[in-house]
């Protein structure tokens, strides 16, 4: 009878323990915060560059003039050029990934097709190569090669507005053509490739800070461009400007053109009593005031000049035309050697540009007319190009080439950005976007892993999946030489990644941490566990005694 009782008691205690064993996970599960499953492994793959290889292919069609006296084998020329460019390009930029398994790689394959251009004299006579063989795809370029017509010993390059250039070669010889063309292509694309390589291989390295990347704004699908006319003191000079007409005339083409990459919304304002926060230096003998490069970072009086936009949350590019007050004019910018800067303008990296003007103040009123604004706007546009990352590819190439090559340009249309520059900007932005979205996704996955109390809602999951999908599409499009689609998808990817990362729900639930959960259940768990533990202890003791007795 007693033996039987003991057995039942043990059974009861065991059943309680079994109940708790199953109950605890259930309790754990029901009191957990909601976390949608994120594709951590996939993000990890992308950030380790296991998921893709980047390729930025370029294609050249070379029309070689059919000169009777010479025989140039087009097929040979193509393959020779491809080889020589490939060898100089160092096509496979790669670096050991951190885990050592796999290598990051970026490739810049070049395809060259040479064609015999038999009708060249005729075509040239009509002169209008712009309308001939137009290519509308980014990454495809046409080069026309013809013998030099005049006695000029230099190689002459005429750059068209579209994706084409005419090269006049002084020595009509296969090796010279080869060398000239390969030199030209390499010097045109080298700096862009170096930049892309840097983006991708060392996205976070701060060791070698490039002036160029510091100046360019971070990518955003939209920028607010604000022109401000800052008047130091309206009591002695009233100012006005024909900014609306100037924007329409000088800037609108650029805005339209660049809208494929980022939208620019333009506005302007006039601010009066815009005072500097410091006193500029005074040069007494020549009676002018000047700013030194050390003073320029303090020029913007952010507290008092109304520069922020009340409605837009996109980054703002500010362009300031500053008219100093009577007590501080004329005001000039001096370089470190003490020479007055000719343009009297300076650029603030990732912020905007400033021009200082000292207008005639005898009438007490000054209106910056359209004519006067032309030179001002051209400085502003140059600054804007720099801030948006537009690179003057041909001028850069000129520095890389030897002096015997002269480069001329067909008068560009009023867009302030040529096709060559635009293409280069698109390629750079694609690389930047891809890298930034991967970094953002990586940070997101780190954040989610590190803070276990953070709620992850379903729409975050959707956005992350879509971002990854767009990344993959962007890479595929790059591979297929469809730069515009690649740009579109890279834009999508970065937007989705950022909206997931900056989602307002993505904060850890500070108001209900795990400690509070334990504290609340403490009054239940402690009184229950005491009799259970005592019973267990007693049973073990009995078991031991029984064993000894037996």
């Amino acid at each position: 009878m007693k033996e039987n009782n003991g057995k039942i008691r043990r059974l009861i205690i065991t059943s309680f323990y079994i109940f708790i064993l199953f109950g605890l996970p259930l309790w754990w599960k029901t009191t957990e915060v909601y976390r949608a499953q994120l594709p951590f492994a996939e993000i990890e793959e992308w950030s380790n560059w296991e998921a893709f290889d980047l390729e930025f292919p370029t294609q050249f069609i070379i029309y070689v003039a059919n000169v009777e006296t010479s025989t140039i084998n087009c097929a040979n020329l193509s393959s020779n050029l491809e080889n020589s460019i490939a060898s100089r390009y160092n096509v496979n930029h790669s670096k050991e990934a951190s885990n050592g398994k796999r290598q990051k790689s970026v490739r810049f394959p070049v395809k060259i097709r040479s064609l015999d251009w038999s009708d060249w004299k005729n075509d040239l006579q009509y002169g209008n190569l712009e309308n001939l063989n137009l290519v509308s795809e980014n990454g495809q370029y046409i080069l026309y090669i013809l013998p030099n017509t005049n006695s000029n010993p230099n190689t002459k390059v005429l750059v068209g507005n579209q994706r084409q250039a005419i090269i006049e070669i002084n020595q009509w010889d296969t090796s010279v053509i080869e060398k000239t063309v390969s030199d030209l292509i390499v010097s045109l694309f080298m700096s862009e490739q170096a930049a892309i390589k840097k983006f991708i291989i060392e996205p976070l390295s701060n060791s070698k800070v490039e002036l160029d990347s510091m100046r360019t704004m971070k990518y955003s699908p939209q920028y607010q461009v604000t022109f401000s006319l800052m008047n130091g003191d309206p009591s002695d000079l009233l100012v006005n400007w024909d900014i609306e007409e100037a924007v329409d005339k000088y800037l609108q083409f650029f805005v339209n053109k660049i809208s494929m990459i980022s939208n620019l919304t333009v506005d302007s304002q006039i601010q009066h009593y815009a005072r500097l926060t410091f006193e500029p230096y005074h040069k007494a003998d020549e009676n002018y005031f000047f700013l030194t490069p050390e003073l320029l970072p303090h020029f913007i009086n952010a507290a008092e000049w109304n520069l922020a936009s009340a409605v837009s949350s996109y980054p703002t590019l500010n362009f300031i035309l500053y008219v100093p007050s009577k007590e501080q004019s004329p005001l000039y910018i001096q370089d470190s050697k003490g020479n007055i800067a000719e343009s009297n303008a300076f650029l603030i990296p990732r912020w905007g540009g400033v021009i200082i003007k000292n207008p005639e103040r005898s009438t007490g009123i000054h209106n910056f007319s359209l004519e006067e604004l032309k030179s001002i706007m051209s400085i502003f546009i140059t600054q804007l190009r720099g801030l948006l990352g537009v690179h003057d590819v041909w001028t850069e190439a000129k520095h890389a080439l030897d002096v015997t090559t002269s480069i001329e340009f067909v008068t560009p249309p009023n867009t302030a950005v040529t096709m060559w520059e635009f293409d280069s900007l698109i390629r750079r932005r694609i690389a930047e976007n891809i890298v930034t979205s991967i970094t953002t996704l990586k940070s997101l996955s780190q954040l989610v892993t590190e803070i276990p109390n953070m709620v992850v809602l379903d729409h975050i999951q959707t956005e992350v999946f879509l971002a990854l999908d767009n990344l993959a599409k962007s890479c595929t499009n790059l591979y297929n030489n469809q730069y515009n689609l690649a740009l579109y998808h890279s834009k999508k990817a970065i937007e989705l990644a950022e909206s997931a990362f900056f989602d307002p729900t993505m904060v850890s639930m500070l108001y209900f941490p795990d400690e509070h959960k334990y504290a609340i259940y403490m009054p239940l768990f402690v009184p229950i566990s005491v009799p259970l533990l005592v019973a267990l202890h007693r049973e073990i003791k009995n078991f031991k005694i029984n064993k000894r007795v037996k």
Partner: protein
């Protein structure tokens, strides 16, 4: 365009007539014309001694532009503040009115305020065009203004937002049929919002001359917030240009009103600008087309203004005399001051009271139910005054419409003075109660409206951090209606600009604001949820412990064998 043509014609004419020298001046003149053509800026400061010795100071800054037009994207700002222009354009607003007020306007002693809005706290109302995302625009508008003015305007959510049906008609130019078809009104107020320097600083930054020159240089936060009442507002509305109304302009009116008390300091009602604002007025804002200082003089009294005013104007519609200083031509080297020939200020008991004013208060006691009662006074001896009563009661007070009673002079009347009633019942946690009633106030009467309510027991997370303070209920608003009720207007009601004919002016209704109210709702013990959890846990643990012991322990009756043995041995 026409301006340029004119300039060109003028130029040719001058060349032909007077040669090159004169043409220079013509050109110069056209430049000046050009400069002032688009945006017009006017500033004024009005000072009015009140009947109880206090002093009303009212700053007004108007900027008009003809460049911002509805439906046309505009982004090149000159004098009109860019921040406001962007908000108006991005959120498709027809009119915008934002007022920050601290303190209560004392209608009985002070008459009507110059500013149209005077409800304590923040009041925002806007007419927005219907463009399919009107509610989103309203939300964004409140958020943008909250950011701009560092105020909690973003707390104006659905539970506070109202669409008044009778009150708050547009104050600018509008086409009634177009407006009713294409625009909607949104109103929100935060009675508990405190107003201070952080709101004034961004407000000043919107002015063309900021606070550097002109009358805005007198705006001194230390003095301004040391006043009995102050109010700061922004009104944006389309207006007519000229009598024929050929051009539509957009106007922004920025005002600051403050009631200061010189009697408190000296026992006398003498004042000077330096004494009120702690600053000197130096020169007019160079951008202003008009810059003036007005002192509204009382009829009687032995006073002296120094220096002498440029002109003294009598307004024939009101019986006021106004001393005017034109700051544009005046080079001020002395302080403007006003002195009375008296040793100590004696309160005047026979001042003229405003005709219509109101008081509102709570009735009842306890934490379960209560009532609201409003007394609306009509002091005019022979006019029946039509008014609109507007009241927004938050959803946590459940109104009973059947308890709405109207009494005149304390007695129930046969024909109700309510001519029209619009009532919106509250929906819990989504919209407030709204009462709008069109009333006819008989001459020399007190009209009393009363309604009863139940108080709701709120969820404990819905209470603010200072739950025991209670909840603020915003002011009720009494608006005058219709044309021809100019007798309601005080002579300083200056919603109308001078170049608008007076008859076109009367759709600017005057509004009377009642007191805000403070209601205390039953407050729970905020540690209660934890107490409940703990108590429940303890009960469960007790139950568990006893059940467990019942199941695992043997309960055996003690057998008193030894005791029996003892007994046996004794025996």
């Amino acid at each position: 365009m026409t301006n340029k043509d004119l300039a060109y014609n003028g130029y040719l004419f001058a060349m032909w007539q007077l040669g090159r020298f004169f043409s220079f001046f013509v050109l110069l003149f056209t430049v000046v014309e050009n400069y002032q053509h688009n945006d017009i800026f006017k500033e004024s400061l009005t000072i009015k001694p009140l009947s109880d010795g206090k002093l009303l100071t009212h700053f007004q800054f108007n900027v008009r532009t003809n460049e911002i037009k509805e439906g046309k994207a505009f982004s090149h700002y000159k004098l009109f503040p860019r921040a406001i222009g962007q908000i108006i354009q991005s959120y498709n607003a027809h009119e915008l009115h934002l007022t920050f007020t601290q303190g209560r306007w004392n209608y009985k002693d002070w008459g009507y305020p110059i500013v149209p809005s005077a409800g304590t706290g923040v009041e925002l109302w806007a007419w927005l065009w219907k463009d399919g995302k009107l509610d989103k625009n309203w939300k964004s508008l409140t958020n943008a203004l909250a950011g701009l003015f560092c105020a909690s305007l973003n707390f104006i959510d659905d539970t506070i937002t109202v669409q008044p049906k009778l009150s708050f008609r547009p104050e600018g130019l509008y086409n009634a049929t177009e407006l009713s078809a294409r625009a909607e009104l949104r109103y929100g107020s935060l009675p508990h919002e405190n107003v201070c320097t952080e709101n004034l600083t961004p407000w000043i930054k919107l002015l063309p001359c900021k606070s550097t020159s002109g009358i805005a240089s007198l705006l001194n936060g230390h003095k301004l917030y040391d006043s009995n009442f102050h109010s700061m507002s922004i009104h944006v509305r389309p207006v007519c240009q000229g009598f024929e109304c050929l051009n539509k302009h957009l106007e922004i009116v920025q005002t600051v009103s403050a009631v200061v008390d010189p009697v408190r300091n000296s026992g006398k009602r003498d004042w000077s600008l330096n004494q009120i604002f702690g600053r000197q007025l130096s020169l007019a804002c160079p951008l202003a087309e008009e810059s003036k200082l007005e002192v509204i003089l009382s009829e009687d009294g032995d006073y002296k203004l120094s220096p002498d005013a440029d002109t003294v104007v009598r307004k024939n519609d009101g019986d006021a005399t106004i001393a005017l200083y034109n700051l544009k031509n005046l080079q001020l080297d002395t302080d403007i001051s006003m002195t009375w020939n008296e040793d100590v200020f004696k309160y005047n008991l026979n001042y003229e009271q405003p005709r219509v004013y109101a008081h509102r208060f709570f009735t009842g006691y306890g934490q379960e139910r209560g009532g609201i009662k409003v007394n609306i006074f009509n002091k005019s001896t022979n006019f029946t005054v039509p008014i609109i009563y507007y009241d927004v009661i938050p959803w946590f007070l459940k109104l009973y419409l059947h308890t709405l009673k109207v009494q005149i002079n304390g007695e129930e009347v046969q024909d109700s003075p309510i001519k029209d009633l619009y009532y919106q019942p509250a929906v819990d946690r989504s919209r407030p109660n709204v009462i709008e009633a069109e009333l006819l106030l008989p001459p020399n009467s007190i009209t009393t409206l009363s309604i009863n309510f139940d108080k709701v027991f709120l969820k404990y997370t819905e209470h603010p951090p200072d739950a025991n303070r209670g909840f603020d209920i915003g002011s009720a608003v009494i608006s005058s209606v219709g044309e021809g009720f100019s007798y309601l207007h005080d002579f300083v009601t200056r919603n109308c600009s001078e170049d608008i004919p007076t008859t076109a002016c009367y759709h600017f209704s005057i509004r009377v604001y009642t007191e805000t109210l403070l209601v205390s709702l039953p407050t729970p013990d905020f540690s209660m949820p934890y107490n409940v959890i703990t108590l429940t846990c303890t009960v469960i643990a007790l139950f568990f412990g006893s059940m467990f012991n019942l199941l695992t322990r043997d309960f055996v009756a003690l057998q008193s064998n030894e005791g029996d043995k003892d007994k046996e041995s004794k025996d």
